[in-house]
Amino acid sequence: MSQHGSRSVHTEFSDALPVGICVLDQELTIVLWNRTLAEWSGHSDEEMIGKNLLDRYPALNTPVYRTRINQVLDGGPPAVFSSRLHKSFIPCKKSDGTMRVQQTSVIRYPRSDPDHPCVMIIIEDVTDLDHEIRSVREMKDQALLEVQERKRAEEALEKLNAKLNLLSGITRHDILNKIMVIDGFLGFAEEMATDPTQAEYLGHVRAAAMVIQNILIFNRQYEQLGIGNPSWFAIDSLIEEIDTEERLPIHSSCEGISIYADPMLEKVFYNLYDNALRYAEGASRIEITCHPSSSGLRIVWEDDGAGVPEDDKEEIFNRGFGKNTGMGLFLVREILAITGITIAETGDEGKGARFELSVPEGEYRIGNLA
């Protein structure tokens, strides 16, 4: 009889499967050892069949395995052996020398004689899955560690920031008090000054003191940036809050549109309006329009005043630029940047200033606020 002819259907079938299969009789003698298991273990079926499993693998000769295999042989439910608690049921080395991680099930197998049932051990190779899960877990652990470290650093920074804010607040308060004193005494000195040169010098002192005061006021405002959580603001409500006193009327067509911004957003519109009052010579009105598109929302604020010279279009957003404090448009850009909103001047000199605010997609809503 040929080698092929001598193999049973069970053997042929089990050899075709990509899992390790071993069948034991009631004495735990190996009666089937499939091709996959032979490859994995390095022991051929000729070598294994007829041998006692516990003699070949003494590590299995403990109550943990024996009791559970016997439970199955006695008619009990299948037993499963997880890869975490039993790395390798049958030790199998891979070509790189590492052990194959296994997940094993032991089931009752009546074979041809129901009075003398066997047990079938089915071994799945879960090495790749095990490595993947472990590497994901390691990455997660590393990420968690980094989050914890970042949290600690943030807490330390918050404490430090609070101390700096306290110090800066006290210092600002003290300097402003002293400026008030300077202002008061300057008033007396100006009244007493009869010499025009002396009066001119006192004027310079007053101007310098006012600049210091403005810097400190700006400093106080800037300190508030990013302290409050961003939220939704209706553009029209913010416009309505600007006290125009009929000096320069504002017309808005942004009804029902809200944007997600820092709570200091009202300062943005206030400063743009203040900027128009100061520099938009001959302006008669301010027009605000909103243009939603697939890439976001464009808010256009334009007046019909003198406009901004080409060379100054970017400069006006720099700190210190301008005739007043030089902080207004700088602060505007900083406030908007917190939630990713950009601002640029795009008007034509002589026709009026035109500020375009670009709000990213997802940071604006059309309709009433919920």
Binding site: D74, P77, P78, S82, R84, L129, I133, L144, L145
Partner: protein, 207 residues
């Protein structure tokens, strides 16, 4: 079928023997002493299954199920609340996870570990019961799922969910208290077979 306290006592005894065997295997396997408390047993009809929720809550459980067929057919579940399941996995594997939150998801290695522990518990209990019944059953391979009690009951075919045996136990590993339950869901015929056999044995004992 009317159940008297003696029936309940006898079934509790069977479950207790099974749980004791399971504790022995688990202790041996983990190298730590594992104790399982004597289970508290309750029996419900399908109509009374709503009472289970009022008794043990409506949370989702990590459940290991085993289907069985034969003279005695139905489904057995070993169920753990998420918190206990996480404690159990960490205790038996001896691992210290960096993420200790109990709402973290279970990986497939976690569920495989739970499946083995649940399998040991179920096999202990089912072993005791089948010993008494003296009949050969056919079993499925254990499976893992996460569900609440009504979904677990619904998962059993209509004719095999007329009686529900609920055994509540606590497992102590390294002084950690792990809550676990075993649900045996049976058809009325299977349940009557069990009670009849239990009564026969009690009768034998009296003789």
């Amino acid at each position: 079928m009317e159940i008297d306290p003696l029936d309940l006592d006898a079934i509790r005894e069977l479950v207790n023997i099974g749980v004791g065997k399971a504790a022995g295997i688990l202790s041996e396997m983990t190298g730590s002493r594992i104790e399982l408390t004597i289970p508290k047993l309750s029996i419900f009809s399908q109509e009374e299954s709503g009472q289970i929720i009022s008794l043990i809550g409506s949370e989702r459980y990590s459940a290991i199920s085993l289907n069985f067929k034969g003279a005695f057919s139905g489904m057995t579940y070993s169920i753990f609340p998420a918190e206990s399941a996480h404690i159990l996995i960490d205790a038996v594997t001896g691992e210290e996870p960096s993420d200790k939150s109990f709402d973290r998801p279970f990986s497939s290695i976690d569920t495989e570990t739970l499946k083995e522990v649940g399998n040991i518990l179920i096999n202990g209990v089912m072993g005791s019961i089948t010993n008494v019944l003296k009949s050969q059953l056919t079993y499925s391979l254990p499976t893992y799922c996460e569900a609440d009690i009504p979904a677990l009951i619904q998962n059993v075919s209509q004719e095999h969910r007329e009686a529900i045996l609920l055994a509540e136990t606590h497992m102590f590993i390294k002084s950690l208290d792990i809550e676990g339950k075993i649900l045996i869901i049976l058809g009325s015929e299977s349940f009557e077979t069990l009670i009849r056999r239990v009564r026969e044995i009690q009768g034998d004992k009296k003789l």
